[in-house]
Symmetry: D2
Subunit: 357 residues, 4 copies
């Protein structure tokens, strides 16, 4: 089959933990072709192989291994950029690329809560992409440039499971406690002396992100602005000695009465635009309910549905809020690089990206 | 200082994980002297050193290492017994000892929820020991024999922190998610292939225990019966790859309005009968509030207060239930052997045990 | 492409850790079709899904999930059997199948050192299959039945790397220290309380196996008997908290002088009959030399070459024995199920198995 | 009991992982009193509590918590200094303190192999302190100032076990493979993503240190110079996911013939000057032989003998070198801070330190 022309993609912050996940997942992408790897000045000029210290079990894609790593400045001939930048440099660099006319799909937290920036999970709020014209206007961006963000890893796992419930029954209250993997802290990230055989009941800023981002993602776009969902979210986060995969213990209260069987049905049948459009990176089932009494587990279930779904187990009544359940999702795939790529696929299908040349 | 005469103690189930903790904590006890080690028939006849496969970092106490291990039958000349039996044999064996006139302090779950059996955490409900006369009557026990139970390890950590809040403000709702250590599953217990680098969101029966036991412990003894507290508890449990120490993320709603500072004050100033009576195994502070933004942590804080306190951190508002906090306690010390020993010390001080001969 | 007819295979001990690896690797095998799953009486009568408690991250193959599990007795219509039996039942059961005319490819240790049983690593000693006629004669087996064994997991990793050195230079002395994964102990196997955050410098019988099996595998078949290689092997084994993958630190002394570059060349260019015949399960490179200064590592390198190679790093001079290097191999794939399947493929190509019907 | 006057001690690099071990072990030292805590400019001016981020399970000693942290410059009124400095700053800073007249007991590697600097393990080579006069002469140090080093952590564990063998039988060859704890890499040190569930077969410079330091420590001081022992040491090092405690698998060849029982006797009866002089930090048994077939283990045995001994298990014949055994020692106590303190105690007893004022 003849390969159709692909859009030229840059990866910003290509050498870090999430940057490597971008490289891994874009190496054979049918629509996007990585033509530029950007990183800090320290890496610029080296080959990607030298600069990245590849740390994934999959092999470093040969086609990219020899590419030269560039600095952060916007480049010519790029159709879209993926950003795995850390929050200290993301605001400036991402805006520079958008101003240079490049659509930026960012995993950084910096712009997520800005009123003119879409914070998108394609199964939930694809229409929030329609904030893009407002963003271009408010920030004086050229016609082709904009910034779209995906959610924090823990938020993604949670919001995926909440979305169909919010739609079907309305959600009043959600209480979530996370057990988060070390890869969520990036590389070098968490010192081993802090976490081996330990639990850390704190991750800076994470609880606030989960509470605010969830409301924005589940919110409605009205008159060019997102009106956050009214549900109340309370998050408590923990770091645990697990490599990949965030587990979450969730209780929730619906506004309209719901029976357990209805909730199960609503979760099971959930599909969104990525599934309808059959986007390349989309999971077949964005929510996958597992039957075992002790599932989902990171070691056993994490790579179901290409690591792009939220896995759900132990749905049962909660005497405090009505219902409770266990969630699991892949923090650096669905919760980071994969989520961002899915956003770009959605944007392409909805016409926000240029046509391949 | 001349040692005063000590009560003669037996340990039932002395070779297992909790049994070893009993041995460790009773080896130099000022009031109790271990004179009999009981275990299954498989171990009977061996020396304790041979039978136990000592697995604690502390040294096997020399005085007990050479003692012969006996079977489960009640023996003469025993003033009290500690039970680390598993639930399959505990009901029969413990009752046999009680019928033989021996007070039994049990860590097994079997009798905890029986209406005539005290389920005691000495700082919280020491008066529940007054169920003993009713128990003797209802079960036709001889004058000196009875059974007193301590709570499940996860319940203990939680109930300790809830007790002063229930007393001061009333509690309406509690939502708790646990991150529990592998030693809670006993030995050999959890296979390493199940938990290394993994989270298991399930422990059989644990959530039900936490919900029911907490209400009984916080309940009031009226007319010879415990009226359970009316608070609603919802528990979600997880096993994590931590050796010792159960962490808990807790949200709670008070009945009477409370300010954060008041809650902090109530927790900080909590003292109970073990502290007043200066029981040998009592922690100085049954609740210890830690200030760090990321505490308590098993690796750093578990052995504060002789591993007999509930450590509390991150007390803060919860948008769903009002307040939330992080707890930590030692599951095989305060949550098992140590809790049972403290119960015996309390019973001795309150006159339920014979005098040393 | 039309699938050619496949041989009918049984898996003995199909529910355990290695049994599941057999199921995983035979599910889509081009030559062999699993038609019978055997296990202990406890599992017999259940479906495989119910009986096995599937514990691999890959999905339980649907085609086998619903198959009924049978007991251990030999069955009709089976062309070959793979044995993942434990050593307590393996001798009797495997012999029963061989007597029933079924070629048995066994991962159990029981027959490995028997003089009439081939202990085969196809890249090294494929000709040892020629012990089969002697075995049939000595044990009075019917024409089609025999037993072929693969090596212990640690031995496999080591022998693969030693074989080309023995051939090229002769080996006089080998000193090996292992760091072995927990999956090597089977399931439930090692209690988590024994190994989390710990090292255990002992595995029962393992050092003896490594020393004796290595000599047999590297030995020469002369006049119908294997004359063990004369090298002296000293093994020290350790269990470490790693899930899959045995690491080995090896020193060796050659008989004929060798330069480092020659050794590297001999290792790099090593190919065997599985590579020549392009057996379906064969790795492309049975030995893969990695260049990084800190490789191989289980987390990063274990799945190279379909987890069927020995990975080699840090080849360098040793002041005591001449040379040293670091090895890594997959203990339950190449070191168990995969090794056994490769033996069967070799036997098929060499004409020891019946033709597909 | 009236406390006798103590020497005034400084700790250089007091905030790091080894620095904290110095603080922990010197807090109640009978001879030395910590009066100055030095660290990098970043910490200077803060209280020790603020600056150190205390990461030990023991409580931060109250007496030191509030002390102000100073920069690296030598101070007045200091009788001796302990250095936990990293190798990038150690050479300059330690020499500056020595030039200011302060005896420096250093855990840094920088000066260990200098011909005029004692590299001392008090049980083995206490007389190497007699290099001090030569050092003062060669470096033009004032009368009271000098530098004494202790060995690398892995070297210490090994050399302790080799010393009595070298003395009794002579040692020709030693092959050692280590399994080293993460705390040996300092803090933040090893990223958790590198080591959780993994083995890293490399630690920069460690093998060279073990080989060279062992020879110097076991060497003889003749005419003011250390003549290294002639044994050949080959080291292979691995990092494993263990918190504290280096395990070592060792084979060795003696020069004079030895029987296993003689070797056992020589190891068991080993005592040195710290034991004779009953130095405060000395273990009662510098070598402790454990009988279990699977010992020593970090989790179970590490804190025997105040974590100041080398634990030995599994002494047995080795077909390659004659004998083999398993060692274990505490890398940040005996292998770092504790070893350095013991050196200072030895130096005090031997008259190299001033008298307390």
């Amino acid at each position: 089959m003849a390969k159709r022309a692909r859009l030229k993609a840059a990866i910003l912050g290509a050498t870090g933990a999430v940057g490597q996940r971008f490289v891994e997942h874009l190496a054979d992408h049918p629509w996007f072709e990585v033509v530029r790897l950007s990183a800090s000045e320290r890496s610029a000029g080296k080959t990607y192989r030298e600069a990245c210290g590849w740390r994934l079990p999959s092999l470093l894609p040969e086609a990219l291994a020899g590419q030269q790593v560039h600095g952060m400045d916007p480049a010519e001939g790029i159709d879209l950029a993926f950003s795995a930048l850390s929050a200290d440099v993301a605001p400036e660099v991402e805006l520079a690329w958008a101003r240079a006319g490049v659509p930026v799909f960012s995993n950084a937290r910096s712009y997520r809560l800005e009123p003119d920036v879409p914070l998108v999970i394609p199964e939930i709020n694809p229409d929030h992409l329609n904030l893009i014209p407002r963003q271009k206007a408010s920030r004086g961006l050229p016609d082709s440039g904009f910034i779209v963000t995906n959610a924090n890893c823990s938020t993604t796992v949670l919001a995926m499971a909440l979305a169909p419930l919010e739609r079907a029954f309305g959600l009043r209250k959600v209480s979530v406690v996370t057990l988060q993997a070390i890869s969520g802290a990036g590389y070098p990230g968490l010192p081993s002396m802090d976490i081996l055989g330990n639990v850390i009941p704190f991750i800076a800023g994470e609880e606030e992100k989960m509470e605010a981002e969830t409301r924005k993602i589940l919110g409605r776009l009205l008159d060019g602005a997102v009106s956050p969902a009214e549900l109340v979210v309370s998050a408590q986060v923990n770091r645990v000695p697990v490599f990949d995969g965030h587990s979450e213990s969730v209780s929730f209260e619906t506004i309209r009465p719901a029976r357990l069987a209805e909730i199960r049905e609503v979760l099971t049948s959930f599909r969104g635009e990525p599934q309808e459009r059959e986007l390349p990176t989309a999971p077949c089932h964005p929510l996958l309910l597992l039957d075992g009494p002790d599932r989902p587990q990171p070691m056993l279930d994490l790579y179901r549905e290409k690591a792009m779904a939220t896995l759900i187990g132990r749905l049962r009544p909660c005497p405090v809020l009505g219902f409770k359940m266990c969630l699991l999702g892949h923090n650096t795939i669905r919760g980071a690089a994969g989520g961002s790529i899915l956003n770009a696929e959605l944007a392409f299908e909805r016409g926000f990206l240029p046509s391949p040349r």
